[in-house]
């Protein structure tokens, strides 16, 4: 089973921009199929009721936001790691799909805080004379820690629950049908977009006689983007019509009904206890 990320691939692919784009797009689609396969494995989280998982995720996110100590965030992070291993999800997958991406994106946001938050000076950068403060480091660590923990738990939910089950769980918990339908359409639109992009770049690649120059490659991507959005939107509309034609009105129906058992209630109690314990300690 392959493990891909938007940022890092196990196998670095060389070639011109069209080849790299096709390869990257195919990897993203493969990754989604992998996720469906993981959700079918007999792991700990896979066996829980999707509604309970969704509520538990909200409780863990609340705990992450309420945490006022880095050790609390570290404990929540360790909990995510343990749950991943118990659910047969490799840590390298979490690293590639959550930790690395979050580190890069949130890291860029957190970096200025190291210098901008006033407080006790720890270090001064040579030449720039910027001061790194203890409070700045702490702020950045909290931002990064919260983002990493939240992304890890969100990814665990997505990897252990088929997307249609997540949507049905949302409806069961009272999320408006319009919002759920929009989420469902967005998910499908992303795939139509990927598929269309892959086909367009493949067609373009077949007509390239030599690898394009950097400038030409950039023009290629830019000119393709507009056409791609239009085509994907049209295809997406067709998919929606095909669904309406078979009776779809935005509601999610599944052949499998959710059943809440004793272990689901235990999991929910444990998840709900996390923010309560943090608030209790804070008080």
């Amino acid at each position: 089973m392959s493990e891909q990320s938007f940022l890092a691939g196990k196998h670095r692919h060389h070639g011109n921009i069209a080849e790299r784009m096709v390869h990257g797009l195919q990897q993203v689609m493969e990754h989604a199929l992998d996720a469906e396969a993981i959700s079918a494995t007999p792991g700990l989280l896979q066996q829980l009721d999707p509604r309970i998982k969704l509520l538990s995720l909200l409780a863990v996110l609340a705990a992450t936001l309420l945490a006022s100590q880095l050790t609390t965030l570290l404990l929540l992070f360790v909990l995510a790691v343990v749950l991943a291993l118990a659910s047969q999800i490799s840590l390298s997958r979490l690293y590639r799909q959550a930790w690395l991406s979050v580190l890069l994106f949130s890291g860029m946001l957190a970096l200025p805080a190291i210098f901008m938050v006033p407080g006790e000076r720890l270090l001064t950068l040579p030449l720039l004379h910027w001061h790194i403060t203890r409070q700045g480091l702490s702020s950045a660590a909290f931002l990064l820690g919260r983002a990493e923990v939240s992304a890890s738990f969100a990814l665990l939910l997505m990897l252990t629950t088929p997307w249609m089950h997540v949507l049905k769980a949302m409806r069961s918990l009272g999320v408006p049908v319009l919002l759920v339908a929009l989420l469902g359409m967005t998910h499908r639109y992303v795939f139509v977009l990927l598929q269309t992009a892959s086909q367009m770049f493949e067609a373009r690649r077949s007509r390239l006689l030599a690898p394009p120059s950097g400038r030409m490659a950039r023009q290629l991507v830019a000119s393709t983007s507009g056409v791609l959005l239009g085509k994907a939107l049209q295809l997406s509309n067709e998919v929606h019509m095909a669904m309406v034609s078979r009776g779809y009105r935005g509601e999610v129906y599944l052949l499998h009904n959710f059943h809440t058992r004793k272990r689901d209630w235990c999991a929910l109690l444990l998840a709900l206890a996390l923010p309560l314990v943090i608030v209790w300690n804070h008080a």
Binding site: L235, E238, M241, A242, R246, G247, R249, Y253, L254, L255
Partner: protein, 284 residues
């Protein structure tokens, strides 16, 4: 006389400024097999979508089962489900119709929307998988199937709902000859089952097999209608509506001819004599 399944009175449909259909009036009787014949861009797909309540007439009136088919009518939940139970559309591009993770889920989608009980859905899925010979594909992702397999799954995903009216948009397009024959055989077998079948096509070879009434569309209007024999023998009409063309080609006897013909898919017992289906007066 029984109420027609569809009755169109001066129906027009515009895509922004472009008129896709203009003042179309026709009736489709219950249990009939109708071929919508026309060149690319003649309005066949638009008409099918109007009949399936996916588009709504910008002028004129369309009645389905005796009731006006409008956006307001289908907004009502009861009428929406009642209509969707009775009419099914198989899209030309199976990719737009196959959006579930597995073939099994694809077949379950329609019956689930219509609120069938679980046991009925499971038994219907089993029957459909067997009928279309796709049992071995049930756990496969639809987008990983071959073109012929996708078409079969698309057809099965609509027919599992047992619609009274089946709308087919170019059912044999982009299929290999064996898969085309399968689809045509299915449509032939449907004769006499009481189901109304409306097929949009520009494949003249299959018309006589799949229809007992033909409506020819050209530039968004009804150019002619009648029996397959009448329509297929009207070469002037077929040439005028871009369903026939002429260019020099070689026959089995080695002679090069130029006469109106259509590129068919049938071969006469190992020769290429039937490759070019000849219509009307030949010119050598």
């Amino acid at each position: 006389m029984s109420t027609p399944v569809f009755a169109l009175d001066g129906v027009s449909y515009h895509y922004q400024q472009h008129a896709a259909l203009h003042a179309v009036s026709l009736e489709v009787a219950a249990g009939s097999r109708v071929a919508l014949l026309g060149a690319n861009g003649s309005g066949k797909s638009t008409l099918l979508r109007l009949l399936d309540g996916l588009y709504f007439a910008t002028a004129g009136e369309l009645r389905a089962f005796g009731e006006v088919l409008s956006e307001a009518a289908l907004a009502d939940e009861t009428r929406h489900y009642a209509f969707r139970r009775r009419v099914g559309l198989v899209f030309q591009n199976p990719d737009v119709q196959l959006f579930n993770p597995t073939v099994f889920d694809e077949l379950a989608f329609g019956p689930l929307q219509l609120g069938w009980p679980e046991a009925q859905i499971r038994s219907a899925i089993d029957a459909s998988l067997q009928q279309f010979g796709i049992s071995h594909l049930q756990q496969r992702a639809p987008h990983r199937l071959s073109g012929g397999e996708r078409k079969r799954v698309a057809l099965a995903s609509v027919l599992i709902m047992q619609p009274e009216v089946l709308l087919l948009d170019e059912p044999t397009a982009a299929l290999d000859p064996a898969s085309q024959s399968e689809v045509i055989r299915f449509l032939q077998e449907s004769q006499g089952q009481g189901r109304t079948i409306i097929t949009a096509t520009h494949d003249l070879d299959s018309v006589a097999d799949i229809a007992d009434h033909v409506i020819v569309l050209a530039d968004g209007q009804v150019a002619a209608q009648g029996s397959p024999a009448d329509i297929l023998s009207d070469h002037a009409l077929l040439a005028r509506t871009h369903l026939l063309h002429a260019h020099p080609h070689r026959h089995a006897d080695g002679q090069v001819h130029s006469h109106p013909h259509q590129h068919g898919h049938r071969h006469d017992h190992g020769t290429n004599a039937g490759r070019y289906r000849r219509f009307g007066m030949g010119r050598s």
